[in-house]
Symmetry: C2
Subunit: 301 residues, 2 copies
């Protein structure tokens, strides 16, 4: 038996994991141990600080429910989700493809189907806008019958899960493009909003003197057979927090402004946004979403 | 608004935390973000892998109860707890002081008081041993009426919380040394044991092909006014896993062997261990335990 100094502990921990059969798990856990230990050594982490960290992570885990994913939110505000997203894009997105963005913690499977030109607003009210455009491939060819999932806050800045009980699904919907990949739907202009501030992540953001706001945006997921699933969001350029998104999700190419003067607008007289989505071809290892329906991340039982 | 590449995201996240009023929190969170991002970049973490990590941490948090601390267990098997412990010792322990070890997840406050020479075994049965010795300061002077907390598994390798319902406290106790710092108590020879393998940490240890065992040991906490609290453990040298503790807690100076041939043994005919504990003086910032009663780490409400 060997006495371990603070560097040898790292080696001992890695040695004890060296027989992990899955090589990728071994690689990831070795790197996790190295970085975790380097963090503790660099900060000279004290027992009290370590214990605060344990209590904090425990609180984050206990805050998770089938309708709330506090660990994704933590990853979001630490910039990790966006980093994974950017690396994902660098690997699987073609140069001309639409940039992706975060799925976020409010995506839900099974949103209501809406017809072409329909509204996702449900019982919510506020200033109406129209989103329209075309889903194409990298050569500009329309992708027939691409499926679009859309979800957003209402005009008060609340997702359905925040404004209603979980049985209500609104301000979200699924629609199918036409044979040329064209689509349009009606919705309300979303309001920027604070991330949920009533849990441990909100407490941290407050202690960091951050505003905790995301600029107004509309989440979009576009899928079609043979193409890489596109998870992205469109951000409103007139939002005061467009430059300081608390989860670092904004890209210049995803910023939009509604207008009454668009020549092709399918619903005249309603402020409209035209956005064309360009899909990349499906590649091996290019799949995966930076996010999930929260209910899928709860332990069984 | 700026488009961020995978390195710029790290800078953006750190910049957004730059106004944290508490300088130590700022320092720790900046280091956490840097190391977390470096880990993700180095491993080229994919969305699916990131999501597995989110689900895993969620499961660890959900496994915590007032009687079970799965995050401490995770910290333990990754070597982080021992690392924090060693740095803690390097800062606050005098050269002659007894080495510390992990508090572990089974410490409970309010263990039964036992008289000098009493037994902590309660209703448990097995081979009896006696632990005796003296608590001294760095100059070898006895520390009068030092308080000792002791806890361990029974002879089947189970802590009370694992063998009984939470209302039962046994195989643990508190006693007070005499005016010269001397103490002795009776207990059972503990058995080495597997860490709890029915939760997410056990699942990981299994996937890493680790045995998951700790060598047999007795936890000891020694406290006296003016001295640094000593959290340590005594490890039995004849345990087959003495060189491969799954939580890296063993130090050579803490290894013991019971004997029938000790001249000062207070209970003749019972195998005994003599261990003298040397306390360091209390220093600023030298306090803190690498561990806690699990119930203290649950979120309020």
């Amino acid at each position: 038996m060997q006495d371990l100094d603070s560097t040898q502990i790292t080696e001992a921990a890695i040695a004890q994991m060296a027989n992990t059969p899955d090589p990728r798990m071994r690689e990831i856990m070795e790197a996790a141990v190295r970085h975790l230990h380097a963090f503790a050594r660099e900060t000279r982490l004290t027992p009290d600080e370590w214990l605060k960290g344990i209590a904090y992570l425990t609180a984050v885990g206990q805050a998770c429910t089938p309708y709330r994913q506090e660990f994704i939110l933590l990853s979001d505000v630490l910039g990790l989700s966006r980093l994974v997203n950017v690396m994902h894009d660098a690997k699987g997105r073609e140069e001309v493809g639409t940039e992706s963005s975060l799925l976020g913690p409010f995506f839900r499977e099974g949103a209501p189907e809406i017809p072409m030109g329909g509204s996702i607003a449900g019982t919510s009210t506020g200033p109406e806008i129209v989103i329209f455009g075309q889903v194409t491939d990298g050569q500009g060819q329309g992708v027939p019958e691409a499926r679009i999932d859309v979800w957003q806050t209402d005009a008060d800045g609340l997702y359905d899960l925040q404004a209603h009980d979980p049985s209500v699904m609104e301000m979200r919907g699924q629609l199918r493009c036409d044979a040329e990949g064209r689509f349009h739907f009606r919705t309300l202009k979303p309001l920027g909003y604070s991330i949920p501030m009533d849990g441990p992540v909100g407490a941290m953001v407050r202690q960091q003197n951050r505003h905790g706001f995301r600029p107004a945006h509309i989440h979009i997921l576009v899928a079609a057979p043979g193409y890489r699933e596109l998870v992205t969001a469109l951000y409103f350029g007139d939002d005061p927090n467009i430059d300081s998104d608390t989860v670092f999700g904004v890209s210049a190419s995803l910023v939009i402004t509604e207008s009454l003067a668009l020549p092709d607008a399918p619903v005249p007289g309603v402020p409209s946004v035209r956005y064309d989505f360009t899909l990349s071809r499906e590649t091996e290892g290019g799949g995966g979403r930076v996010g999930s329906d929260p209910s899928r991340l709860m332990p069984a039982g």
